[in-house]
Symmetry: C2
């Protein structure tokens, strides 16, 4: 089934205890698309400036990612992020950020993408998320991400968005900020009252919590010693989850759990190298093997 | 099978966002014994002062806990701890602590306890843990707990202890301190090199990690909104785990996982009330039901 993602594309500089990489490809839409493309064709909508080297955007060559919605905007500069995990591998410190083209108007969704059935609205201004969503014909599953900034400054627009989507993916800090609850199960239940049918709270190295009207469950992260660069783990998680869901055609408890487990596995590949290196080093067979090992580890 | 626990017995004052309780029964051996007694008879070894109200020690009435190793020492005072979770329900702040009788000589293990097959050495000075262990005839499974203080001040004695036990249970902060590794899987692997056949790292609200030569797996905490007082959760976890293990007679991967899941369930009851209230409100049938629901939630 057609899976659409709208989100950021960035040029990152990342420092971790394993080293430093300058000018590598990043951004939520990039990680999401690569992760989801192991499962299903992906339609990518995003915008970069004319300074973005073509070589950086070649990452989807040979993959089923339709970049027809990728705009290279003249006169604009690409989003840039410089982050450091040197102090704490589980928590990024932003050294520098230049929104650049992300602070301008949103990219347009191409006409041939408007029939997309599965939609992931990666983190951006909730007004833009609503605009993007409003232009789609009849999406079957819409999941969004958000961030602290919009929770703090755009609560009214975020509330409107939450009434229009099926699922919300957010991290634990954002869930606590949005609901003012310190217990994540309580926080998740409060999010459900705001509109979404289900919410997934990402806890980084501690896995995730999923809540819906009918289910509450938690899954641990895939246990691994190989943590080189956690950038993009959350977006890869969402990509694996949505990629799998869009191939299933149902939203049973078991399907959603399997989807979260695929998300968990995709995130474990992303953190094993800088940028897309971890995802580029694997294939669907290896992903399925790790998924099955993870499933078995949880079986007792 | 006979299960022996040596550990602290204390009179606690606890403050949490749900209220304050003065002079309630606590201590590692108390929580461990109560939790384990849902599975198997428990032999308790511990010491209190003559100030300890008899009513506080009546908590095991009607339960299969042999308190023949509970010494009431004349002229001594009971261990007291005053803790607060008001700022953060997941992290205790010690307001006041009086070691009292815990700073004196250890209690003796009664002669009729010396044939115990399953042994849990709750946290105390590693020299005392070795002494207690040395007096036992031929224990089949010995698991110990420890704490930051001994890791920092008694490293040599702790190292000797680690070579004599089968399993170590500790929390994430202690594991990082002991191994100087920030990744918990790496930390667990390093602990294995120090002697134990397996290590369980408790992560509080985030569950646990288990590592042995043959397995590495993680289990999330039981998802619950009802967190009244987390005191004793870790000791109840250990009690549930050891209680179940001592009824099984094998240490297969599946058995250990099931044991950790029972530990997880027992901890979820403990945190639902002050002191032993949560454990006192349940029974083996309810525990089995919750265990099965937890198992099913992890099945996909």
């Amino acid at each position: 089934m057609s899976l659409l993602v709208t989100g950021s594309i960035g040029i990152d500089t990342v420092e971790t205890p394993s080293g430093k990489r300058d000018d590598i490809i990043g951004g939520s839409a990039i990680y999401f698309s690569y992760a989801a493309s192991f499962f299903t064709p992906v339609r990518l909508v995003g915008v970069v400036g004319e300074d973005c080297p073509k070589s950086l955007l070649n990452v989807f060559e040979g993959r089923e990612v339709d970049t027809g919605g990728l705009e290279v905007r003249k006169g604009s500069k690409t989003f840039r992020w410089h982050g450091s995990y040197v102090e704490d591998i589980n928590s990024a410190v932003t050294v520098e950020v230049d929104l650049n083209v992300l602070a301008e108007r949103a990219p347009k969704i191409p006409a041939n993408f408007l029939d997309s059935q599965y939609v992931f609205l990666a983190n951006t201004h909730p007004v833009l998320q609503q605009e993007l969503l409003g232009s789609l014909k009849s999406p079957r599953l819409v999941v969004a991400d958000t961030m602290n900034l919009w929770i703090q400054t755009e609560r009214a627009e975020l509330s409107k968005l939450l009434k229009k989507i099926h699922g919300l993916v957010m991290n634990d800090g954002e869930a606590k900020l949005l609901t003012e609850k310190s217990n994540l199960i309580s926080a998740a239940r409060d999010v459900l009252k705001m509109g979404p049918k289900f919410v997934v709270i990402k806890k980084g190295e501690h896995g995730c919590v999923m809540c819906s009207d009918r289910d509450t469950f938690t899954l641990p992260a895939f246990p691994t010693e190989k943590v080189i660069d956690p950038t993009g783990a959350g977006d890869s998680f969402a990509g694996g989850m949505m990629g799998y869901l869009s191939t299933q055609g149902n939203f049973s408890s078991a399907t959603i759990k399997r989807a979260l487990a695929f998300g968990t596995v995709l995130a474990s590949y992303t953190i094993a190298d800088f940028s897309l290196g971890g995802l580029q080093s694997t294939d669907r067979d290896q992903i399925d093997d790790r998924w099955f090992a993870y499933k078995q580890a949880m079986d007792f």
